[in-house]
Symmetry: C2
Subunit: 524 residues, 2 copies
Amino acid sequence: MPAAPRRLAAALLLLVAPAPAQEQQAATPRPNLVVFLVDDLGWQDLSVPMHRERTPFNDHFRTPSVERLAATGVRLTASYACAVCSPSRTSLLTGRNAARHHVTQWTLRPGQDPSQRARGLRSPDWSTEGLQPGIPTLPALLREQGYRTIHVGKAHFGALGTPGADPRALGFDENVAGHAAGGPGSYLAWHDFSAAWRNGDRIWDVPGLERWHGRNITLTEALTIEACERVRRAVADGQPFFLYLAHYAVHAPLEEHAPWAARYRESGSDEREARYASMVEAMDQSLGAVLFTLDELGVAEHTLVVFTSDNGGLCFNARGRTPAGTGDYTHNAPLRSGKGSAYDGGTRVPTLVAWARPARGDDPVQSAWPLQPGRTIDEPVLIDDWLPTLCHLAGLDATTRCDPLDGHDLTPLLTDPAPWHRPTPLVWHFPHFHNHSDATLVHGYSPHSAMRKGRYKVVHFYDRGIWELYDLATDLAEQHDLAATEPALLRTLATELVDRLDALGAQYPLVEATGAERRPVLPD
Amino acid sequence: MPAAPRRLAAALLLLVAPAPAQEQQAATPRPNLVVFLVDDLGWQDLSVPMHRERTPFNDHFRTPSVERLAATGVRLTASYACAVCSPSRTSLLTGRNAARHHVTQWTLRPGQDPSQRARGLRSPDWSTEGLQPGIPTLPALLREQGYRTIHVGKAHFGALGTPGADPRALGFDENVAGHAAGGPGSYLAWHDFSAAWRNGDRIWDVPGLERWHGRNITLTEALTIEACERVRRAVADGQPFFLYLAHYAVHAPLEEHAPWAARYRESGSDEREARYASMVEAMDQSLGAVLFTLDELGVAEHTLVVFTSDNGGLCFNARGRTPAGTGDYTHNAPLRSGKGSAYDGGTRVPTLVAWARPARGDDPVQSAWPLQPGRTIDEPVLIDDWLPTLCHLAGLDATTRCDPLDGHDLTPLLTDPAPWHRPTPLVWHFPHFHNHSDATLVHGYSPHSAMRKGRYKVVHFYDRGIWELYDLATDLAEQHDLAATEPALLRTLATELVDRLDALGAQYPLVEATGAERRPVLPD
C-alpha cells in the first residue's frame, strides 16, 4: 500500500477503536530526554575509557559524574560526529547527513566561509547560512509529541541575522544563551561572557545571560542553573521535557575554572593543559548537578540522557601526555589527529546513553527501553542517528515524518544484546580546507570524504586525488594504509562511497581556476 | 559595671533609640548557615591536603567539591573534635567541652556503656542517655534568631527512648533520618537502609526515609535530596536557614557506592579500601549538590558552609597506602592512630569554612565576615568553638546565652589575618577504654585526658598512670615523647590540664574493685 492510503487506513482504524499499542503508549509515561552535548571534547578527555583499555588520559582527567553514567548506562566506543561543529549540530537536529544538508563547515555570518583555499581548490557553494526553518527538527518533532523543548547553551545552527540563529525558530520552546556564534567570548561572568577582555570580536559575546554578569561564576555553572530551573518548571507543569544542554565548554578560549586547574599544574601539566582539564571538571560538575536535579524532581528514572561531543578534541596530532608548548591540549590518542581531520581523532566522540537513574524492578518506561548497565557497544554509529532514536523514545517513528532521513533508530542496538548493524555505512563529507593555520601543512585537514563500513574506513582527499583504506579493527590509529595492498576492497568501498555521496547530493570542492567541481576519481 | 546592670542599661538605651549597630544588623541580611558534618572522615581522606604538604592519600581520594570549598574558603589544619562521635556532636550543639557535658562516650541505650573494662578500671557514671533538652543548643539559639533549623542525617545525640533522641527536642524545627543510633543499617535503599540484610540489630535501621525504600539510591544521595528540598522551602518562605547535614557516611558498614569503587579496585586497592573511597566520593557529590542548590536558589553568596568530621578516621595505626587485609581503611597518617585514640589521628579532623560562593565586589554580608580564599590556618581549634562562631554570624553573642560556654568565637581567627590564639587550651577527656576489640592491646585507646596548648600536647593515661608530652610543631606524628626530657614543662602543662578538668567537673575513671575515682596523679 502506498504511504498516503496506509496512513489514512491507520487513521480510520483509530476512529473505530484504539489499537492495543496506542493504549499501552497512553498508559506508559513518555520519558524525558536530555542531550548533554559537550563542545570539542576529545575521545580520551574523560576518566571513563572509550578505548578498550584504560590509558593515562583516563587517569589524568577526573569525571566522576560521567563515570556514573557509564556504570549505569551503555558506552558507545565507536560513536561518530562530523569533524567540525555546525555540521554535527545540524545533523543532530535533522537526522540528515552533512553531505545532504550542505552545512559542511562551521558557520558564523551568511556568505562567510572560514575555509582556506589551497592547492587550487576552494569550498563549494555550501550553506553558509547554516540550518534554517523548513526542515523537521528533533525539537519540533518532540514538541508535537507534547514535549517542552529547552535549548540551553551553544546553538551554532544558523548564521548571524538568519532565522535559524535563534533556536526558537528551529523547534525549541525556550532558548538560553544560544545564537549564531560557536564559541564564548569568555567563560567568566566577571567578563560578562564577552570577548571584550581579549579584544575579541563582540560577535562571540554570549547573549541572554545578563543576570549573571559581573558575578563570580562561570558560564558552565550559569548554564547548568538555567537548564535546571527550566527543567524544574516543566516538571512542575507536568510536561515531559527535552533538555538540549549544549555546553560551550570545552571549546576555546582556555580559561581557568578554579579550583581545579591548580592540581593539574602541581602535577606537572602545562598551563593550557591545566586550564583545559579544569574546564572538563567543571563540565563534569554540571552533569552531576543535572543528574541531582533529576533525582530531586523525582524524574530521574524516566529521563534518558545522551552524553556526547560534537567533534574530536582540538589537536592536530595524536600525542603523548602534557608535552609543554606543543599546543595540543586535548587527547584523542590512540586515535589519529583531531578536530577538523578526516581521521578518527576528528570525528570519533565519547558517547554514553543512560537512564538518569536505573530503576529497580519492573519500571514500565525503562522496561520498554532497557539498557544494560555498564555495557560497552563497539558498533559504529553516527550523530545523524540521534533524531530517529530519540523520536522513538517519544513514541514517534521519525521515518514517517522525516523524508529524507539518513540516521537510523539505534533502539535495537542500545536495548537488545543481539548483534545489530547499522543498515547503511557511515559517511563523512568535508569539502573544505580546515581553517586552522596548519591545516594545509598537516595531512588530513584538506577537503575529503570518508566512509566507515564495518571494520573498514575509506578516505578520499580531493586535493591530492588519493584514496586511503584502514582496517580499524586492527589499526585504530590509522597508521597502515591498505590502499595499495587491498585494491579490490578499496575500489568496492570507494565506489559505494561515491554512489552514496551522489545520492546524498554532496557538493564537491571547486577548482579555483575554472569553478568546476572536483569530483572524486575512483581508484584503478 | 556588673553584668546585670550593664544589660539593663543597654536595654534602656534600645528603648530610647536603636543603636547604630542594630540598625546595620537589620539592614544586612543574616547569612544562612550550613554545617556539613561527615562521620569518621579521616584527616587525609580528601584530595585536599590538610597536612602542610600533599601526600599520596590526597592523590588517592577524589573530592573535587571539597577542593572547591578549600579554594574559595579557609582551611583549618589543626581543627579538633573528640575521639568518638556522641561527645563531638554534643559539644557541637552545646559549645561545651566533653569533660563538662559528660557525654564522653558514644551513646545508644540509656545505661548502656560500650566501653571495655580493663586493668582494673571502668567508666565513670557518664551520661549514657546523651544530650537532653534543657541546655541552650546551637539550633535553638539560631531558631530564636529567626532561622529555620533543619536536621538531616545522623543525630546520635540522645539515647534510645529519651527525648534527646529526637533532634526536634534539641532545637531543630525539622528532622530527617536522625535518631539515637550512630550508624546506618545500610546505605542502600534496596536494603531499606536497614541492618536486616546483615542480620544486624534493627536499632540501626535509619528512620523516616520510607519514601526511598526499595529504590536504586544510596542513603547519602537520599539525605542530600531531603536536605536540598528543605533548604528550597526555607528560601521560598524567605526564612534564613541553618542546615545541619550530618551524613551517616563515611561510617561503617562499608558498602560499595557505585560506580566509584571500580576505579580504586582496578588501581590496586583492596576491597574495603575501594568501598570506602567510593563512599568518600559519594559524600563529595553530595557536597557538590548542596553547593549547586545554594547557587540555583541564589543564596550561595550569603550562605556560610562549615565542612568537618566528628572524629579521626577509623583505624588503629597510622599506615601506608592500601595494605591488603590490615583492616585499616582510612588514613590519618602522618598523624598517629585513629578514631578513639588520644593521639591526633583520633581527634584531628579535616575542616573548611567557606562562603558557598565568594561574592565579587562589596557584598555587605561577606564584607562583614570576610574570608580570604585559599587561606590555610594552623591555629588549633576545637569542635566546641562552632556554637559561638555560628551564633556570631547569626547576630548573637553566645556568651550572653550560654553559661557555661567552653567554646570560643573563631570570628577573629577566620576573618582577620592578624594572629589570634584561642584564649584557653584545647582539652580532651575520654575516661573509657574504647570499645574496639584491640583497644586494650594498642596503646592510646585506654582512658585518657589530653590538652593542647600552642605547639605542645600533654596526654595522661589513667590505666598506666603515665604522662606523655609531644611537640606537635616538630613531631606531628607524636613519636617523640618529651616527658622525660622536659619534666618542668610537663609538670606545668599537666597541672593546668588537671586544674581545667576539675574546673570542668570531669568524671574520672573508676577503680573496679573499690568504685573510687582514679584521679590523674601529677608527674614528679
